[in-house]
């Protein structure tokens, strides 16, 4: 018998073992513990927002068997990321894989530590797509789906490649019935913001809106078929101060077309907070630009 199957078996077990020291248990809710990833040696742990139900006295189970305490540093529900600070140092931070060579069909292991030991399920990278917006409006630098089973307690743990390098953080809460990994770049961006500000800032205008069809002539002129009709403009809001009225139809913001609510959500990013942006509207059949200073969502 050739050794190929035995080699595969050893390689997979080896990948799990290599990743193990950077995976912790996160006890932040009443029922089943979840998993977390060691972000830095001085105790920053990344986990899934939806498994963190307490702010303080979060138990972190380390790979060496010790349990230490952590508290919540910040969370972002839109990307399902939470950051914890544990009272410990000398941890082994996760080794991240570059995404450049990642392809659909590559082997992937979902790992978790809901108990004492690290556990693994095997699958492949099922789908990969650049630039994805979560249903809650969070921005992912890419969409990474796997068919590896998310075993109970695996949320917050990593998805790793065949070498045990970390590809992202497991989340079963972003899309129903689909196992996703929050990709590395997104984690880096959001964790940085959460460590500094405790939350991800989102832009805010102070309007309610719905998509409507634009009149024929304007469709050709603007190159889009729909815009967002403002149903209300909140008093003293950035929209009102900028001069937007109920009945205006937003067709672009900061040079980017706005056709649906998703478009607007995607454009109201944290980095636009306190910035003046051109809001292109249709008012009384005319297309005009109104300058609005984007506010911050509370």
């Amino acid at each position: 018998m050739s050794e190929v199957l035995a080699n595969l078996s050893d390689a997979l077990a080896g990948a799990v073992e290599a990743a193990g020291p950077s995976i912790v248990r996160v006890e932040a809710r009443r029922r089943l513990p979840a998993s977390g990833i060691v972000w830095s040696a001085d105790g920053v742990i990344v986990t899934a927002h939806h498994v963190v139900e307490e702010d303080e006295n979060i138990g972190i189970g380390l790979s060496d068997g010790r349990t230490v305490t952590a508290s919540l540093a910040g969370r972002d529900p839109t990307t399902d990321i939470a950051v914890l600070r544990a009272q410990v140092s000398g941890l082994r931070p996760a080794a991240w894989a570059g995404a450049e060579s990642l392809k659909v069909g590559h082997l992937a292991l979902a790992l978790g530590r809901p108990g004492q030991t690290v556990m693994a399920t095997l699958g492949i990278v099922s789908a990969l797509k650049k630039d994805w917006q979560t249903p809650a409006g969070g921005q992912f630098d890419y969409y990474l789906q796997t068919d590896a089973l998310m075993y109970p307690g695996f949320s917050g743990g990593p998805l790793v490649d065949a070498f045990g390098k970390f590809l992202g953080m497991n989340s079963s809460a972003l899309l129903r019935g689909i196992s996703l990994a929050v990709p590395t770049g997104t984690l880096q961006r959001v964790v940085q913001v959460l460590l500094t500000h405790g939350r991800v800032r989102r832009g805010y205008l102070g309007v309610s809106a719905q998509a409507v069809r634009l009149p024929g002539g304007l469709t050709n002129q603007l190159g889009q078929e729909t815009g967002l009709l403002l149903g209300s403009v909140e008093a003293n809001s950035p929209a009102e101060r900028g001069g937007l009225f109920m009945g205006d139809t937003i067709v672009a913001l900061d040079g980017q077309p706005v056709r649906h609510l998703d478009d607007l959500l995607a454009l109201l990013t944290g980095d636009r907070v306190d910035k003046p942006v051109a809001v292109r509207i249709v008012r009384g059949g005319q297309v005009i630009d109104v300058k609005v200073v984007v506010g911050e969502q509370a």
Binding site: V4, L8, L12, A13, V16, Y151
Partner: protein
């Protein structure tokens, strides 16, 4: 390389078949069993044996009455004896050294399909499992597609060595097996 992988897997299953039996407790093909000792000792699940009487079909086609030597519902194990000699056995491995990620294959008679195999990796081993009451014994949890009829059959590693005895299905993608070290404990206590 991928071709060799397939050949290896096929060889593992073929070798395992030599030690795989069918256990019948009055209904047709109640489950599987694993030949443990060449002088007729067969291990299967307690739930496969039930109250008996049982008969065992050997790989060579002989159907023999089996004596129930011991049964332990807590570990879900049963030891049977048939009147036969020189039966092929599977080499045991140290199941305490099993690592998550290791490749394993479960063989049995799922839905009555004789000798069918399912393969995947070890998810973990231990006593505490989500959504299961805490037990006194270790369980091997494996990511493969166990189905009714795999019970009592062998779970082997990438070398074809026995790692455990298939015992329970935990959803379509997860199976449970009794590790070899738990079977050894059971046999030591049961067969004095």
């Amino acid at each position: 390389m991928v071709g060799e992988l397939s050949v290896d897997l096929a060889n593992v299953v073929e070798n395992v078949h030599r030690s795989l039996v069918q256990v019948r407790n009055g209904r047709r093909g109640a489950g599987a069993g694993t030949i443990w000792h060449e002088r007729g000792l067969i291990v299967t699940n307690a739930h496969v044996v039930g109250r008996g009487p049982v008969r065992v079909e050997l790989p060579d086609g002989r159907v023999l009455p089996a004596q129930i030597m011991a049964q332990d519902p807590e570990r879900d194990l049963a030891a049977l004896r048939v009147d036969a000699e020189n039966l092929p056995t599977i080499q045991l491995t140290d199941s305490r050294a099993v690592r998550p990620g290791q490749w394993v294959t479960a063989v049995g008679h799922p839905f009555g399909v004789q000798g069918a195999a399912t393969s995947g990796i070890v998810i973990g081993m231990g006593k505490e499992w989500p959504e299961m009451p805490r037990t006194r014994h270790d369980w091997l949890v494996v990511g493969l597609h166990m189905r009714p009829g795999h019970s009592g059959g062998p779970l082997v590693d990438a070398h074809g060595r026995l790692v455990g005895i298939n015992t329970m299905i935990n959803g379509p993608d997860v199976g449970l097996a009794i590790p070899v070290h738990v079977v050894v404990e059971f046999l030591k206590q049961a067969l004095l």
